[in-house]
C-alpha cells in the first residue's frame, strides 16, 4: 500500500540542532559556526580573534576535521578549552557530532563557542548544528569567482570574512567583485576584509563579535 509521509529529510538533524541550541541558550553561550574551504584561515582567524579578545570574553572551540589534532593543539596552546572532532571521512559537522561533545566543554563558563567546521565550501552549509549564526571565510588566493560558484554558503552566512588581504598586491584578484557578488547573493551579509597574518581589519571583526554577545 501507499503511505503518505510528510517528513523533511533533515528533520533528525534539525531536531538535534534545536536541542543543542536550547542547551547553548540556557548556558548563555553564543555559538558561531565557522566555515570555509581548506586553508582559508579558519584556525588562524580563531587564534588572532582569541588573542585580540585578550580574555575579556570567555571563548571555547570545537574543531572539526576529517582526521588529526593539529588545529586543536594550536587552540589548546592559547589556554582555551577545545574539543577535537574527527569525522573519519564525513565532509561536514552535523548536529549529532556536536551534541556528543557538549559535556567535554565547560559551557557554564563560556561566552562564545566557535565551531570550526570541516574545510569545505559546499556541504557544511547544509547542516545546522545549533549555532546562532554561520560565518564564512574566503581567502583572496581562492579567486573572485567563488561566490557565484558556491552560492549556498554565501547565502547561509551572516558574515563573510575576506582573509589574506595583505597579499592583494601580488594577485590578480578583484576583491570588489567578491564583495559585490556576495552582497547580491545575500544582501544583509556583513563583510570584513582582514589579514590574520598582519592583523589588519581584525579590530572591526572583534568589535562586531563583542556587540553581538553584549
Amino acid at each position: 500500500m501507499k503511505l503518505k509521509v510528510a517528513s523533511k529529510i533533515l528533520d533528525a538533524n534539525d531536531r538535534i540542532a534545536q536541542e543543542n541550541k536550547n542547551i547553548f541558550k540556557e548556558k548563555g553561550v553564543y555559538v558561531i559556526n565557522l566555515m570555509s574551504s581548506p586553508g582559508a584561515g579558519k584556525t588562524s582567524l580563531l587564534e588572532t580573534t582569541i588573542r585580540n579578545l585578550g580574555g575579556k570574553i570567555k571563548v571555547g572551540v570545537i574543531e572539526g576535521d576529517i582526521t588529526g589534532t593539529d588545529d586543536a593543539a594550536r587552540i589548546d596552546s592559547l589556554g582555551i578549552p577545545v574539543v577535537q572532532i574527527n569525522t573519519g571521512g564525513a565532509c561536514h559537522l552535523d548536529a549529532n557530532m556536536i551534541n556528543e561533545v557538549l559535556n567535554d566543554l565547560p559551557l557554564d563558563e563560556l561566552d562564545v563557542l566557535f565551531i570550526e567546521n570541516v574545510g569545505n565550501l559546499v556541504c557544511p552549509a547544509e547542516f545546522k548544528v545549533g549555532e546562532n549564526m554561520k560565518v564564512m571565510i574566503l581567502s583572496i588566493t581562492e579567486g573572485h569567482d567563488k561566490p557565484l560558484k558556491y552560492p549556498l554558503m554565501f547565502q547561509e552566512s551572516s558574515a563573510l570574512i575576506i582573509n589574506k588581504i595583505d597579499l592583494k598586491s601580488f594577485l590578480d584578484v578583484d576583491v570588489e567583485k567578491i564583495k559585490k557578488d556576495a552582497a547580491s547573493l545575500n544582501q544583509p551579509i556583513k563583510i570584513f576584509e582582514v589579514s590574520c597574518k598582519t592583523g589588519e581589519g581584525i579590530d572591526n571583526w572583534v568589535k562586531w563579535i563583542q556587540t553581538l554577545i553584549s
Binding site: A90, C91, D94
Partner: protein, 114 residues
C-alpha cells in the same frame, strides 16, 4: 559527498515509518528535492543504493521530483519561477530583495510499503 548523510537520514525516516505502521518491506519512495537545495539526484541515488542493502529497504527505489526555484519579489511585487539553481536577483526587475517560496525542499512525500 553529503548526499550520504542525506540518504542515511532518508532511509531512517522510511524504515521508521514502515515499521511504525506495521509493515515489513519498502517499495518506491517519492522524494521532493528543490533545485537550490544543493543535493544532486544522481549522488543521492548512488548513496541510497549503497546504504539500503541488508535493510527492509533493500529492494526500495527512489523517485525524485525536482522542485523549481520560485519566490516573490518585494520590490516589484511579482511572483517568479525560474529554471536557475540559484538566483541572484528578481528575474523581472533585478531587485535584490525577494522571498523564496520553493527550491530548498528536501522532503519525503510518499512511500510504498508491504
Amino acid at each position: 559527498m553529503h548526499e550520504v548523510s542525506i540518504a542515511q537520514s532518508l532511509l531512517e525516516i522510511a524504515i521508521n515509518n514502515c515499521k511504525n505502521n506495521g509493515f515489513s518491506r519498502i517499495g518506491n519512495i517519492k522524494v521532493l528535492i528543490g533545485k537550490a537545495s544543493g543535493v544532486m539526484p544522481d549522488a543521492l541515488f548512488f548513496a541510497f543504493d549503497g546504504l539500503k542493502a541488508d535493510t527492509i529497504a533493500s529492494e526500495a527505489t527512489l523517485e525524485i521530483e525536482e522542485v523549481p526555484v520560485s519566490g516573490f519579489c518585494n520590490l516589484c511585487n511579482k511572483d517568479f519561477t525560474t529554471d536557475e539553481k540559484f538566483i541572484l536577483a528578481c528575474p523581472h526587475c533585478d531587485g535584490l530583495s525577494y522571498t523564496l517560496n520553493s527550491g530548498r525542499e528536501l522532503n519525503i512525500t510518499e512511500m510504498e510499503v508491504f
